[in-house]
């Protein structure tokens, strides 16, 4: 088990390296640069800036400098948010994104598994049909629609919840963004759970359990659920990574100070270092969550053993 974890972590290093290298050079293919603003800068100013940020050096040298600094944990200064380093920006924003993403993940997971299970147990009933229709709607309505609608109803119309901001971090500020963030994922979890649950309920071991006269609750929860959760678990990794590294759309709509917007903002403004920083962050989250899920798999599925 331990050696499995160590091996996986070791293999993460070359993965990260490749991700960083590809994004570094892809970024530079985009026309313009961090200092091509709506109001163009005079040549002398541009030169001063390029020199200060070492962007006047050959690309290969910039790459070598970037990599050697990144290894030491220095991801460079942000070109747009000039008072901050990339590490500072991500350090300040990440806790907000993680907290919000974590709640959204819980909501999506619990809500999705519950509704999916109910739908599977009442397969082809009106209830099943309603849940699955809602799930389809949930995946198709983008959160830039859901978010503003929630605000219009609950913040402006009913004045129950704040329209945005993090405030003091209390739950009232989190409810609306959490729902907007969770809804599409909840729908995915519901569909996945329903599908695998139906399959599991038709399994031989379930028929056997039922034949033994075990109560339906026990059959569903202890026997069917265990197998049915496997596809859900494998979706958990990318989903958790996506939710906890922040959503540009939801964070912008609800003015949450997270890291979600940095990738988009960075790319649009050619803030090379900020983009690289968020790419590394997302890559790390994906790698770590995949590892966790693989370990979880081992616990749930006796056929999977890590040694």
């Amino acid at each position: 088990m331990l050696s499995f974890v160590l091996r996986r972590l070791a293999s993460a290093v070359p993965t990260l390296f490749i991700v960083v290298t590809i994004s570094f050079f892809l970024m530079r293919f985009a026309p313009g640069g961090p200092f091509n603003l709506e109001r163009p800068l005079p040549p002398a100013t541009m030169e001063n800036l390029m020199r200060t940020y070492q962007l006047d050096q050959p690309l290969w040298r910039q790459y070598v400098t970037y990599i050697s600094n990144a290894v030491k944990g220095d991801f460079g200064p942000s070109y747009i948010y000039k008072d901050n380093t990339v590490a500072e920006l991500i350090g300040k924003g990440l806790p907000y994104s993680v907290e919000l993403g974590f709640y959204a993940l819980l909501l999506a997971l619990i809500g999705g598994v519950l509704t999916g299970t109910v739908a599977a147990l009442r397969q082809n009933s009106l209830l099943d049909f309603s849940i699955m229709s809602l799930a389809t709607v949930g995946t198709t309505i983008p959160n830039f629609v859901v978010g503003p609608v929630l605000t219009l109803v609950f913040a402006i119309g009913l004045s129950l919840l704040p329209a945005g901001g993090w405030g003091d971090g209390s739950l009232s500020f989190l409810i609306l963004p959490m729902i907007a963030l969770a809804l599409p994922q909840l729908a995915v979890f519901a569909r996945l759970t329903r599908g695998s649950m139906i399959e599991a309920l038709h399994g031989d071991h379930i028929r056997t359990a039922r034949a033994y006269g075990l109560p339906s609750r026990v059959v569903v929860i202890t026997h069917a659920m265990r197998g049915a959760l496997l596809p859900v678990i494998s979706y958990l990794a990318p989903c958790a990574a996506a939710l906890m590294t922040g959503s540009a759309v939801v964070e912008t709509i609800f003015t949450i100070p997270g890291v979600g917007r940095y990738f988009v903002l960075g790319a649009l403004n050619r803030d090379y270092t900020l983009v690289m920083g968020t790419v590394v962050l997302i890559a790390i989250f994906v790698i770590v969550f995949n590892l966790l899920v693989d370990l979880l798999y081992g616990l749930l599925d006796p056929r999977v053993r890590h040694d």
């Binding site: 313009g32 005079p42 907290e99 329209a163 739950l171 709509i253 100070p257």
Partner: protein, 532 residues
């Protein structure tokens, strides 16, 4: 991080909706929407107005704009100008202090201006202070910073020598780049001098906290010389770049002020909020540049015809819902030192007459129906409003000349990078917002020597000469006359077709007192108060 994780656990337990934030003291707090996250709080790196709003609350330059947008004394209480217009002597206020209580000295200003021009600082707006003697050479690394024409005569007397008379120098000094830094603080803290808890400022407010993309809080600076007249205890800036989100937060009464919202909301907001909706014409011009280097745009007749065929009233009313004003001059109206700008000769015609004249001109030039085909590509930076404008203009040119028009859009960086790097084009959108309230700022865009901003590379020696003479002219009235003549030439030749004078859109809650719309879009919080 640890407090966040703690929060993560505890918040899960708190199921109920939180009580509103009520404070025990009746603090006067202004909730100020600020259209985006400031990229920096360093006067050497600032370039956009959402930074300006914050920085000018925190710091005070030698001159400032008052609530009506007029230049008045700031940290300097008075000044004298030498006979030849090249030496300014400022008397700093005896009671001008930094937020740590230490006095604001002439030495602080010397240090600040040298810092801006030092090439190592790489200040983005260093060029705005180039009128100061040797500034440009220093910025280009040709002279030492100590050679800058800024000198501390004594602790409270500052002498600034200029390269040449600069009639708009007092306006330049009110720019956020010319705000002072505390020499002691910058020398001690380096780049960290901008951080909350470290920053020492001389404005009406001081920095308390800053959470990127959430809020920036400033509170009244008791050491400010005019603190007795500052009515707000605290200002919270909300950096919200999503215009719809800021409107929603205004509607939810979470913010008192919103800067910039989508023009298509004007009618709806007007009907709900009446005169809390402010549309204030500003010193900014929305224009199309023609590439004068190539056929057919090198032909004055073609440029004039294209410009005349654009129905500016339609753009202003239908696309911007009246939030912008049709423009027929490069210099926007409302400039105190310039007066009524020189408009294009077709400004007074009706749109139908313009179109007839345009068709005639185009025929003379040999293009359009019956002549050589007219294929026009309009380039603009990606933005829904710019797209609507380009689509409408394309339609107008199609209908008037039978032109075939295509649209190309790139994101802001790529669009301007292309134009700056001498990319060839047909017609390109651009905008110009005044750095300082002077006509020269708009007209210099068409100088043949302006390599950066003269996108279409218009070259007119007569125009260049008039501009040159305006720089040397010391008599204000005479100078204004020269500039008007110069503008008349540009409007005759139409290397650029001004389309709209932009307006600043504000939502100003009726809680706020002291608000005045002004063309320079200057709204220091110290002139505002809130009622409850």
């Amino acid at each position: 991080m640890s407090s966040r994780i703690l929060n993560l656990r505890t918040a899960a337990l708190i199921g109920s909706v939180l009580l509103g934030t009520t404070s025990a003291f009746a603090e006067a707090v202004l909730h100020r929407g600020n259209a985006g996250e400031p990229q920096t709080l360093d006067q050497a790196h600032t370039s956009i107005n959402i930074e300006e709003f914050i920085l000018k609350d925190l710091y005070e330059g030698l001159t400032i704009y008052d609530a009506t947008g007029k230049i008045v004394p700031g940290a300097a209480e008075s000044w004298t100008v030498s006979e030849d217009g090249t030496t300014y002597t400022f008397k700093l206020r005896e009671n001008a202090n930094w937020s740590d209580g230490s006095p604001v000295t002439a030495e602080d200003f010397v240090f600040s201006f040298q810092r801006i021009e030092d090439p190592k600082t790489a200040a983005g707006y260093a060029n705005i202070l180039y009128p100061i003697k040797n500034a440009e050479k220093i910025n280009k690394g040709e002279l030492a910073t100590s050679e800058l024409g800024v000198r501390a005569v004594d602790a409270k007397t500052l002498e600034i020598t200029l390269e040449r008379p600069t009639p708009f120098f007092l306006e330049l000094l009110a720019h956020q780049t010319a705000l002072p830094v505390s020499k002691a603080s910058v020398e001690k803290n380096g780049a960290d001098f901008v951080k909350p808890g470290v920053m020492v400022s001389n404005g009406a407010f001081k920095l308390v906290s800053h959470v990127p993309n959430d809020s920036l809080v400033v509170e009244k600076n008791p050491n400010h010389w005019d603190a007795a007249n500052v009515k707000l205890d605290k200002v919270i800036f909300y950096p919200i770049d999503d215009q719809a989100a800021s409107v929603r937060r205004f509607e939810a009464k979470e913010m008192d002020l919103v800067y910039n919202f989508s023009a298509d909301q004007i009618d709806r907001l007007r009907s709900s909020y009446g005169d809390q909706v402010h549309i204030s014409p500003t010193l900014a011009t929305y224009y199309y540049a023609f590439d004068s280097r190539q056929e057919p745009y090198s032909d004055v007749r073609v440029r004039r015809a294209l410009s005349m065929a654009v129905d500016r009233d339609f753009l202003a009313k239908e696309i911007y819902s009246g939030s912008q004003i049709p423009a027929y001059s490069m210099v926007p109206p409302g400039m105190e030192t310039y007066g009524e700008p020189s408009k294009a000769d077709f400004a007074e015609m009706s749109q139908l007459d313009r179109e007839d004249k345009a068709i005639e001109l185009m025929k003379e030039a040999g293009y359009g129906e019956g002549g050589k085909p007219l294929n026009i590509e309009i380039r603009y930076n990606t933005n829904p409003n710019h797209e609507r404008v380009a689509t409408a203009v394309a339609d107008m040119w199609k209908n008037t000349f039978g032109a075939s028009v295509s649209l190309v859009n790139l994101d802001v960086s790529s669009h301007y990078a292309y134009l700056q790097e001498d990319g060839k084009f047909n017609v390109a959108r651009a905008g110009w917002v005044a750095d300082y309230a002077d006509a020269e700022n708009f007209l210099a865009l068409s100088l043949s020597t302006n390599e950066t901003f003269n996108y279409g590379q218009y070259k007119n020696p007569e125009f260049d000469d008039l501009m040159k003479r305006s720089y040397e002219e010391r008599d204000q009235a005479e100078r204004s006359k020269l500039l008007h003549e110069a503008e008349a030439l540009v409007m005759r030749d139409q290397p650029v077709a001004p389309l709209l004078t932009q307006a600043d859109l504000w939502l100003v809650s009726d809680r706020i007192k002291g608000w005045q719309d002004n063309a320079v879009n200057e709204h220091l919080s110290r002139f505002l108060s809130v009622s409850e």
